[in-house]
Assembly symmetry: C2
Homo-oligomer: 276 residues x 2
Amino acid sequence: MPRMGERASVAQWLVAPGSGFRLADVDASATPGAPGGKEATVAASGEVHATLGALQERLWAEDARSLLVVFQAMDAGGKDGTIKKVFTGVNPQGVEVTSFKAPTDEELAHDFLWRVHAKTPARGRIGIFNRSHYEDVLVARVHGLISDDERRARYDRINEFERLLTGAGTTVVKVMLHISRDEQAERLRRRLERPDKRWKFRKGDLAERERWDEYMVAFEDAIAATSTELAPWFVVPADKKWYRDWVVLQILVDALQKIDPQFPEPEEDLDGVVVR
Amino acid sequence: MPRMGERASVAQWLVAPGSGFRLADVDASATPGAPGGKEATVAASGEVHATLGALQERLWAEDARSLLVVFQAMDAGGKDGTIKKVFTGVNPQGVEVTSFKAPTDEELAHDFLWRVHAKTPARGRIGIFNRSHYEDVLVARVHGLISDDERRARYDRINEFERLLTGAGTTVVKVMLHISRDEQAERLRRRLERPDKRWKFRKGDLAERERWDEYMVAFEDAIAATSTELAPWFVVPADKKWYRDWVVLQILVDALQKIDPQFPEPEEDLDGVVVR
């Protein structure tokens, strides 16, 4: 258990490439590595938050490299909440969130990576994908929209695409927020019961919930096939929101510390300059 | 002087359409309407900040209307700092900041509103322009790139463009952060002197500073010509950052309260639904 302020090793949430990853081995309600219970962990997150803000400022100032963070989860898995909690407090100049919905006609008229490529982060930016090109191997598989061959071909295209991005200076980090089936039921019930949350409830979510086991197979297979050295997956136990937020902060700060962005050099010959 | 928590009237910073606006009448170092000195005003901003966050959440949930905030200022006028201070703490999902730089070849191959139109906020979003189409009547004028006729034609095109946006559900608010020439000198000197700020210093800024008076004429004329009922300008005394941030928060909360976004209605027939 790390002490307050100490950085936790992100290896514990990493899906090591070629490791024979099994989603069933991840307990969605566990809190491995947490600095303590809820209160201590929230306090620790506060410190990491400040570090994230400082690193983002340097990334923006450096204007040379970028970070892409992909979030995937089941419905009610906490994508919106994580983005709100983790990135509120970071200067929005330099952070770009893209929520991918059902594709438009124009998007469908192109290959499946076209719309996501258009939204990858420019130099100096953090790009956040709320859903992503992984929908095209998850939903598409569960709903039988693609053959097994097409799915495997898409894994290859995804790995090649992400290699293109990393080769151009974009660090790619992919995060599955993993909740249990019981936790999803809790959250959907809360949406139904709370008048101020009810507008979020979609009857269609119940139909997807029926396919829970198929989704777990699809997630496991896609993550195993696309967690690479260059663009790794992290699977985060996400039943407990305070733990989830802390883990995501650890993963992002670790990625930015590896980038190690630097303030640029000043212009030359500034020593004699006087402002009148 | 408003009491804590009470909303100040934004009329005091508004450039009333057709009012014969004179920039020289605005004292950049004044703090009219502030709830007190620095400490009291920062505390008041904290409260308004929470209100801004809550209104943004509703705007996003409603997914029907949007808000565009345009920031213009002289170099070192505080555009970056204001955006950081005012919007850090707002969920970045739903906030999109665009910094307009010198136009690219592709942008120059189109009309001057093409690149800004592409970045106007979609339904549910707050769009923030750090510089904007107003550069094309400010810098362009001071550097003699356009004739007087062309400049006046651009004012008309801008007013028509902003009418298009407001007609489609986008509230447009334009903010000039007004600093004094002395304050600019202070800030540029600080950039030179502080090792961690020195990278921000551009010798080219000194050449622009030589044209201060021409810029003031250009700002005054452009603001007078384009502050309309639908898309008003606010001129904010911005020498004191704590006052500036508080005023911008007032203006944004006022705009969002006038939009008065609502959480959407839930789907129909949810009463019998059970989550299993």
